[in-house]
Symmetry: C2
Subunit: 256 residues, 2 copies
């Protein structure tokens, strides 16, 4: 049985305020919950049907609270359109423990990404291309927003997201050693420019691109050229698509 | 005033059967409707508020039917969550007039893409990378599905989609001159393989990839390598993301 207070807690985690206050977030869908159970993240409460819990006996040890319930209660509590057989309440990891190593690694930095689906997709892309940490502006959508969590398809358990004042970080960076790349409509063709193994790739807001306060820090302005004969008519690329093309081009040049 | 029968027609265009019977499809949102008005497509009925119609006087000539109405009726008719000030009913173009020129051009071919958002995004990618025609399997989601139309952000008016039996087309192709590329988890690293200026890139279904009946036609099996240290754990890339990386790599090598 799922208590009323537990249902209320689950639904409250749809709001950032409650996630911040409790330090918890929500993971839904059997595949995602399985990823949470296998990850380093701490599952505080696991809610599942008897069939779901019965098929994961070894993963249940160490979980503070396991609640067996039926589909009806899961449907009641779930934020998904098509609820499955399990819900996990998970502890947000401590982001103060994230180490940044700009000298040798490649990072993504997001300047005011608003759409949960875009952030989730970008985290999935980072995971694929071996970028282990994303540096987000404080106004970027919360990575623990349930829509973001679901859109990562599990990559959220492998890629760290740090929310921080980007200007403060960029001010401290020696850009001779650590290039800060950014994509602009009028930047230089990414295919022809020299790139580096390490550095930061900044991706800007869906509607407005990289903000004025950040663009001054960019040491190399890149563009993904269009090959459309209707050049001027083509909409700009979606930010997740642009991110994937940038990551692909950096990793193509520096696979190791 | 918007008649009841017109509202009924608009809403019926959410269904493929009605779109096929009438030869019409729906375009919503002011920016999309403006793109429709500027395109070669034939707008059969334009519905708009007086403010919208008043601001597009030059585009109204030649439209068979212009209906001025108020926001209330647009809200009633619209399939969007946030309706705007205009709706266009547009004629589907005649796909029998599409010329394929495999000898010199690059094509995308979609084998059972199911998700409307993915198809819309792929059309937008094709537009950006100058691929003017997409060859879709007959079971790929309908390009005139309103969700696909909206997701193209206007690219639907520039990129043609042909629905056809892929096996029949591929059987006729001289693959010595016209390579058929496909992406597979165990294909060859796309960054290291020789590619050509012309040919066909086949993208497979979201869950199952390229179908068995099609994979036999693929002359070059490609893969987008992962750079994740958790190699085996990473989910495959979303099909639209994979499409963008493939298109980027082909155009990088053959920009002209």
């Amino acid at each position: 049985m799922l208590s009323k207070s537990k249902i209320k807690l689950i639904q409250s985690l749809n709001r950032k305020k409650e996630r911040d206050e409790t330090g918890l977030f929500l993971v839904e869908g059997n595949k995602m919950v399985e990823e949470a159970l296998r990850s380093d993240f701490k599952v505080v409460t696991l809610i599942g049907t008897s069939a779901f819990l019965g098929s994961h006996p070894s993963e249940l040890t160490g979980i503070m609270e396991v609640v067996e319930t039926n589909k009806e209660f899961i449907n009641k509590a779930s934020l998904l359109q098509n609820p499955q057989d399990s819900i996990a309440i998970v502890e947000k990891p401590d982001s103060s423990e994230i180490n940044l190593n700009f000298d040798s690694k490649l990072y993504l930095s997001l300047d005011f990404i608003q759409d949960p689906g875009n952030l989730g997709t970008i985290i999935r892309i980072a995971d694929w291309f071996g970028i282990d940490t994303i540096i987000c502006s404080e106004n970027t959508v919360d990575v623990y927003n349930p829509k973001v969590v679901q859109a990562t398809m599990g990559a959220i358990f492998r890629v760290k997201c740090l929310y921080i004042n980007l200007e403060q970080v960029f001010t401290t960076i020696d850009t001779k050693k650590i290039p800060i790349y950014g994509t602009f409509m009028n930047g230089e063709n990414i295919y022809n420019e020299s790139l580096t193994k390490n550095g930061i790739i900044v991706m800007g807001n869906e509607g407005n691109g990289i903000s004025d306060s950040i663009s001054g820090f960019i040491t190399k302005r890149l563009a993904i050229p269009t090959f459309s004969p209707n050049n001027e008519k083509s909409e700009s690329l979606n930010v997740a698509i642009a991110t994937s093309i940038c990551c692909s081009e950096f990793r193509r040049r520096y696979p190791n």
